[in-house]
Amino acid sequence: MDIDLSTEDLAFEKEVREFLDGNAYKPGEDYNAWRMGWFEAAREKGGWDVPKWPQEFGGPGWSPTQHYIWQKETASRTTPWDMPFGTVMLAPMLMQYGTKEQQERFLPDIRSRKVNWCQGYSEPGAGSDLANLKTKAELTDDGQHYIVNGTKIWTTAAHIADWIFCLTRTDDSGRKQEGITFLLFPMNQEGVEVKPIITLGGAHSVNMVHITDVKVPVENRVGEENKGWAVAKGLLQHERTGIAGISNSIVALENLKQKAGTVKRGNGSLMDDPGFRKKIAELEIDLMATEFTELRSLASASAGTAPGPESSILKLKGTNIQQRTNKLTMEAGGLYSAAWGDKTAGPGFAKAGTAGYLASRAYTIYGGASEVQRDVIAKNVLGIKRSGK
């Protein structure tokens, strides 16, 4: 056990830096063209566009240390905007449960980011109790299609997504977890109606999706009929590690220090305020530990296999750190944290700080709410059994 980077790792770090700096966004450049070009260049490096994918599917096959280096270096630089639904969440499920045809059909467009996906899991009656979902999929008489009817709620990015992966009910005779089927279908078709839901910070990111008589070919089913729960759960584990956002938090914390440094207090700045410093220090200490919890889990999960229950630990710790970082950013805005319109004075980050704080409250709700995550750890990690269950 040692903490030094090997000569090879140092060489890799240099290569990563050169790549990131060489492909950095240049002001004035067409953003979308740069974005697509960046992923293309990363792909040519040998799978750097999909760092977590296994080598057999074109991933880079990095060691845990290499992942760590990549995260650290990308977090401190501007990389293109990306959504997790395709590459991080759906792709591993297609690799594990999809047919060869499905892999060939969907993975390339997921990888190139040409097709945006959204996640049709939650329903008005199925939040934490996801298995309670009611969106119905009925097989047509010829066995060629499912007809889907129901309502999904909180669907992030449904208004900009091209496709949805959608949990449906194909059997309600047995246990709730049995009888769920995992379907893929395009958003842009008759019968799919997307209604915005505005969240606390005033943003439109989530939606209600009404699905009426949508016809989905059986080839678009991932895994067997009625066996979608395993796919659904596997995907959630990948989602959770993503939500933890450890490397982003490292950057966010540095940004916070920099912002607080611009807020004048007496002869110094807010960073000289003992109360504020202490809270930043506590946050930093938690983050240092969580960074290594993540590394340990990366090291133990041999490349390509699903992350285990540690993903629940990372989600709880990671989201707590993000929420505290956001809260301190809001606090750094002081009086101006309340300003919501176009104001002419005060720190430039104040409004975004408050909006960020409000948005961060959802981190402990989606991807498995914290209370339920603790249940998962108690049961699956600690092996605590409840009597009478």
Binding site: I153, T199, G275, Y336, A338, A339, W340, G341, L358, R361
Partner: protein, 374 residues
Amino acid sequence: MNFDLTEEQQLVADSVSRFVSDNYHLESRQEYAAEPGGFKKEHWQTMAELGWFGMPFSEADGGFGGDQVDTMIIMEEFGKGLVLEPFVPSIVLGGGAVKRGGSDALRAAILPGVQDGSLQLTLGYAEEQSRFDLNDVITSAKADGDDFVINGQKSMVANAETASHIVVSARTSGGQMETDGITLFLVPADAEGVSMDSFPTVDGLRASEITFKDVRVSKDNVLGDVDQGHGLLHEVVLDGILAHCAEAVGTMEMLYKDTIEYTQERVQFDHPLSDFQVLQHRMVDMFMEYEQCKSMLLRATMEVAASGVDATRTVHALKHLVGKQSIFVGESAVQLHGGMGMTEELRIGHYFKRLLVIDAQFGNADYHLQKFAA
């Protein structure tokens, strides 16, 4: 010691409570907030007619001779409905400065209008660099014959765009951070050289950045003594903190009660959420912190009513506790509502946002903890 309301106080509490429950539903509140000025003028007049504005003024000034306890009663009810009308800026802060520091003539000219609602005051005390320090004042006022000439800027002034007068802290001598050398002025909002930039705040209220450029005010408009305004400002701000904390306590009560109600209705895993012990415990904590804040509110309010600025340390304790625990209650309410808690559709999100703004006013939880410890 006695925690009972007098018969008159109970009547006021009931009438404010009725007004709030009759008029302040979430939808109507959002409509009022969208009106010019950000509140409903008719409500402002109704409140004046019901006599609420006269509560904290002496009988000599045309009021009912009440104290901080009477304001607390009103504000706690206002907190339950997220009332938008500028009671605190006009009655507690602006009115509080004039009643304490105004000459006989100035009080006679201003306070009747404040109480009948025809005048609306506000207080400009913060500056872009000052954060929460009342003594950090750059805005200057220079004596010139019988006048003072004010130059500078005031930040995040509540409801300034509808105000008739602004109470302004300005430096008449000394360095930027000195407590001595600050003077309070009553400045007509339409005085030449006053300009403002107004915007909404995250809780749906309104604030302004105000610039003063060679604004001339008569020395008759000085509140208190020249150079000695800091003490007066401090007293006024104590009242402001008490009022906002009373509001926050009313808001916290609604948050914990709404959460109990919601978790009893929402079913997951074939159980109402309220069956889950971890949620029960969280709601018990919300309830306890509400009760603790209420205790501290009563303690601080009664101490200030009895002994004024000598109770400052208790007010620091109150503002710290309310800041910290009201956000705990707000965050918990959102968490226990799940996705619904993140929307603008339920009132809990609006309560939560108001509490964030209250924490950032007159010093946040951290600031007052440090003052208390000092």
